[in-house]
Each structure stands twice: as C-alpha cells, then as structure tokens.
C-alpha cells in the first residue's frame, strides 16, 4: 500500500539559492504568508483525454495543481493567489513566464508545469520561478503510474516548500488514526489511514474490537497499536501492505502505549501488572524482552529520542503525572517537567531538540513543547480536552485530537483531529469521514 513503485524523479536544473530573493522564515508564524501563483499544469488534448478515461478526472493538470495549492495554503506559510487573476495561459507560462504580469498580481513566486501521457505513464514537469528576480529557481520532472497522481502533487509541494523554506516538507505523508463512531459509552473504533490532506481514507480493521494508539514504524510500512482482541488488551504489530497482524511479546497482562525505536528494530511499551506499569522493549528480530523501568508507579507513554540514546516517558512516581527523561537502558532517570499541573504523552521531536506533551492544569488541556531538559516550556493551544501530539516528519507541525464537552444531557460529544504549527499559529481541523482520535504522522514517503 505504501507506493514507492515507478516513481522516477529527474532533476532538470536547480539554481543555486545564494542569490534567491525569496525566503520564507518558518520560525515566525504565518503573519505574512508569501503570495504565490500556482498556474495549472498545462496538458495537451491527447494526454487530457487519455487521463480522463483512465482516472475519471476531466483535467488532471488542474487537479494536481489544486493539490499543490491546497498543501501550500494549509501550511500557513504561503498565500496561493486566485487563478482568475492570472493573465498568462498555463501552456505559455510554462515555457517562459512574463514576469511583469505575475508581478502585477503581486505573486512573488510562480509554479508552472505540464503533464503528459507517455507510454501509459504520467509525466509531470514543473518549474518554480522567482518573480521579482525574474529567474527559474528549480525545475523537476517525474514519471510515475497514473494512479499516483495525488502523490505527484504532494511531491511537488514538498519540493517547493523545501526550496523556499530551506526545510524538508511534510506533504507526501500519511496519517494513521482511530476512526470512531457510536455513543460515547459504547464507541466503535477502527484503525484508519489516509493521506496527510485527508484523501484516500481507508479502514484497516473492522471495528469488532476496541483499538487504540496506532503508531508508524520509521519506514511507515508497519504499525504498532493496542487491540482488545478477545478482550485482552495487548500491543500488536500490523503490516499495512499484507494485513498480517501479530501480538508483540508474551506478557501475562495488559501491554499498551507502544512506539517503535528510531531504527524500527524495537517496540517500546508499557506492561501493567499488580497495579504497576513499567516500560519494556521487545526486539523484533530476536524477540528479546528487556525491562527498562522498575518502579511501583505508573510509567507509560515512552518515546525515543531520534538518535535512540534516550527515552522520554511520563510517570506518577512523584505523586502526580510528570515527564521524565532517561538513558535507553533505563539509567539516569531525570524529571524534566516542573510547571504547575499534570504532564503526559511526551513525544520527542524528529529534530531532537524539543519534546511535545499534553498538560492538564486547572481543568484545561494544553498541547505544548519544552526543551529536552525541561526548559523553555511553551503552550501552543488550550482546550476542554485534547491530547496525544504527533510530529510532522520535519518537526514543524503537531497533529493531535480534541474531544468536545457534552451538554447537560450528555449529548454533543465529538472527537476530531487538529494540527498546529510549532509557532502556535495555523491551528486547523483535519477533515475525516467520521470522528477521529490518536493520530500518528508517517515519515516522508518519497525519501
């Protein structure tokens, strides 16, 4: 299901960024998103009709451009301009933009391109132009199977984002989450997977048993999650492509809160027994189980640092739920959260410098970040109930879920996915076909 097949990328040309005039500062929030024009990919009539037959899309060029435009807009860093204002036709713009025309509508960057049908394949070439400098910044071409057209849009978005911000993008990614339905007292939950923009939603389980907290492995082909199969809450491993599932380890009780190690070779999780929850790892290659914490308290929600040397987790060993960091062998346990309130669900940023968390204080839930030594705590969003942040692969955006308060009759409950920039700006709901919780972001698929 993770499609890596038939994707060939040609580098047509990439201009040195030393003299580029456009720079997007992604550390400062989206107060002034960069105005940019996404000219629809041009398409010849023969290709157009072939793709229409194949993909049931009238104009695949416009469809791909729409994906790019939507991605760039939702990043909050770019302001794609209204196509109605464009003066130059797509097929001409792609050859040589008339920069005065684009300047006139205040576009600082321009994306042009064309799509063609060549030997049953879809070929896209696109160019990124610096309008003020009147220069080409980048040109790339892709050839892929036609069914991959949405991914082409995501990859173009990632390339543009990377060229203009200097950081990797996060558009060619997927989200695994728990789809929810039914009354609050008897929720039905299924594992579901979708593209980062909500397209291609698929259910991976049927809803016969309660499932919780799915998380991708580093290559995004495996998922570890909690299932109540046969009323025994256990950590499972699922191969997305084959659908094969297996229990992780042979523990005499509940295992939960699983995550992969950064090399994908181990699963770290909690095992609850006799009122205590400790953290364990299981090596997936040799099946060796190691006990990492040993304390009468509740130790859970473990997450590795990206280099695998440290683990952050939450524990109530101080009397209340707080965040700790330790070495990967369980030594040198240090508490890092000291603010007012309870702290849970720590997740190490893929960049290594921050830990995102959930905080409960005076009846409100916050998503926040702190440095790995606990300093520099910053709360990004406050709500009635929200938790479980997961990082975008570039460490710039957090996705989490939010539940609503019910009314006096216990009605009005909902659970939705939301994302927010590390800056605290650009909070957005991510549309899902049903209620949703426990999102986990994949790695970049095209790397």
């Amino acid at each position: 299901m993770i499609i890596r097949n038939f994707l060939i990328i040609f580098l047509i040309s990439i201009t040195s960024n030393v003299y580029a005039l456009i720079e997007v500062d992604i550390t400062r929030g989206n107060l002034n998103p960069l105005p940019l024009a996404v000219s629809p990919l041009s398409i010849d009539e023969n290709s157009r009709s072939n793709f229409e037959k194949l993909l049931k899309k009238e104009n695949i060029g416009s469809e791909i451009s729409n994906i790019v435009e939507n991605n760039l807009r939702t990043s909050g860093l770019f302001n794609p301009l209204d196509k109605k204002a464009f003066l130059q036709a797509p097929e001409i713009a792609n050859l040589k933009p008339r920069f005065e025309d684009w300047n006139l509508i205040k576009a600082q960057a321009l994306i042009t391109g064309k799509v063609s049908y060549i030997e049953d394949k879809l070929r896209v070439e696109f160019r990124l132009w610096d309008v003020l400098a009147a220069k080409e910044m980048m040109a790339l071409a892709f050839t892929t199977v036609p069914n991959n057209w949405r991914r082409v849009g995501h990859i173009i978005s990632d390339k543009v984002y990377e060229r203009l911000t200097g950081e990797k993008g996060y558009f060619d990614t997927r989200i695994i989450y728990v789809a929810e339905e039914g009354p609050k007292t008897q929720r039905i939950k299924k594992l579901a997977i979708m593209d980062q923009d909500g397209a291609n939603n698929k259910f991976l389980t049927l809803g016969n048993e309660l499932v919780l907290t799915p998380r991708f492995n580093p290559t995004s082909q495996m998922v570890t999650y909690l299932s109540y199969f046969k009323n025994m809450p256990r950590v499972y491993l699922l191969d997305i492509e084959t659908g094969t599932q297996e229990v992780v380890g042979d523990f005499p009780g509940m295992t939960f809160a699983p995550r992969f190690s950064p090399d994908g070779k181990k699963i770290i999780m909690s095992f609850a027994k006799d009122g205590k929850s400790d953290i364990y790892t299981m090596n997936l290659e040799n099946r060796i189980v190691e006990k990492i914490t040993n304390h009468p308290s509740i130790d859970t929600s473990p997450s590795y640092s990206p280099d695998g040397k440290y683990i952050t987790f939450n524990s109530d060993r101080s009397g209340y739920q707080q965040i700790y960091v330790m070495k990967n062998d369980g030594s040198e346990v240090k508490r890092i959260s000291f603010g007012n309130g309870l702290y849970g669900t720590p997740v190490w940023s893929p960049r290594g410098d921050l830990i995102a968390f959930t905080k409960l204080h005076k009846g409100k839930f916050y998503i926040g970040v702190m440095r790995t030594d606990g300093s520099g705590e910053r709360l990004l969003t406050e709500n009635y109930y929200q938790e479980a942040p997961s990082w975008s692969p570039n460490g710039r955006v957090l996705i989490f879920y939010r539940e609503t308060k019910t009314n006096a009759k216990g009605e009005g409950f909902s659970a939705k996915l939301w994302s927010i920039d590390l800056t605290g700006y650009n909070e957005r709901q991510i549309r899902t076909p049903s209620d949703a919780s426990d999102p986990s972001w994949s790695s970049l698929l095209s790397n």
Binding site: S277, I298, E387
Partner: protein, 164 residues
C-alpha cells in the same frame, strides 16, 4: 391517512411535553441530590450500581487520580468476597475504569491500578487470585457520557463482572 398523521403528530407533541416536564422535574431533583451523591469527589450514589446477588453491589468508586478504597468500597468488596466464597464455581473479571479527564495511556494504567486495588482486597478476604482476572478500559467505556464532576465520579470505578 392524513388524519392518522395529524393524530400521530399530536401524540408526538403530547409525549414530547410529557418527556420535557418529566425531565424538568427530574433535573431539579438531581440538582438537589448531587451533594448527597458524592463525598469529596467519590461517587456514593446508586444510579449505576448493579447487583451480583442480593445485597452484593457490583462496583466501587474512586477519587480523581486515586486507587485508594474508601470505607464504603471495602464494605462492598467484603460482600463480594463473601458471595464468592459461597459460590466457589464463579470466577470474576475486575474491570477498572478512569474518567475522561486524563490522557488515554495513563488512564489505561490507572484503570488497571484501580482494578488491582479491588483484587488485592478480595484476596485478603480469601479469594484466590486464580479466580480473578483484571481488565482495564481506561477512559474507553464510561457509564455516564456527561462532562461534569458527577458523571466523572460514576466513571471512576472498578466493576466486578461474572466471568462464567
């Protein structure tokens, strides 16, 4: 046809009125009773309680973030232990739960800790651990879907369920 429809509608309106007025009175009553249904933030009411046998309540309640058994909970568990001793063929599952005001993973652990507190107490009254299974649902299976302190107090519980 049309007449019957009109009749039906009238009936609907009538029942709606009845339901509404019933709700109104019930609401007043329950507001008056809230004080009496909680001690600190531990639920002391009986709304959600079912019975394993006559005089043997199936559940015990906890304070926020706590797994300590109250005096009332110990009484309930002693009744359960006596009933289990009288019925040696019955095994039980202790289902531990948390309210919605915590993170999912911590709540799973907390539910397990609560059910174990109940299990330990049953064991001190002579019930073999072989007859008891512990199962935590965390915040996944509330009995009351309300978002208020009373609803949360009903949801912080360990329920003893017959396993066979």
């Amino acid at each position: 046809m049309r007449l019957s429809k009109i009749f039906k509608n009238t009936l609907l309106v009538l029942t709606a009125c009845l339901v509404l007025s019933a709700c109104a009175t019930k609401k007043e009553a329950s507001i008056g009773k809230i004080e009496g249904q909680m001690q600190g933030d531990v639920y002391t009411g009986t709304d959600t309680v079912e019975y394993l046998a006559d005089g043997v309540p199936d559940r015990v309640f906890f304070a926020t973030n706590e797994s300590i058994l109250t005096t009332a909970s110990r009484e309930t568990l002693r009744a359960q232990a006596a009933w289990l001793r009288k019925n040696p063929g019955i095994n039980v599952v202790l289902e531990g739960h948390a309210d919605e005001r915590g993170t999912r993973e911590y709540n799973l652990a907390l539910g397990e800790r609560r059910a174990n507190a109940a299990k330990d107490y049953l064991m001190t009254y002579g019930i073999s651990s072989d007859r008891i299974t512990v199962l935590s649902y965390g915040k996944e299976r509330p009995v009351d879907s309300g978002s208020n302190p009373l609803a949360w107090s009903k949801n912080r519980r360990s329920v003893t369920v017959k396993a066979n």
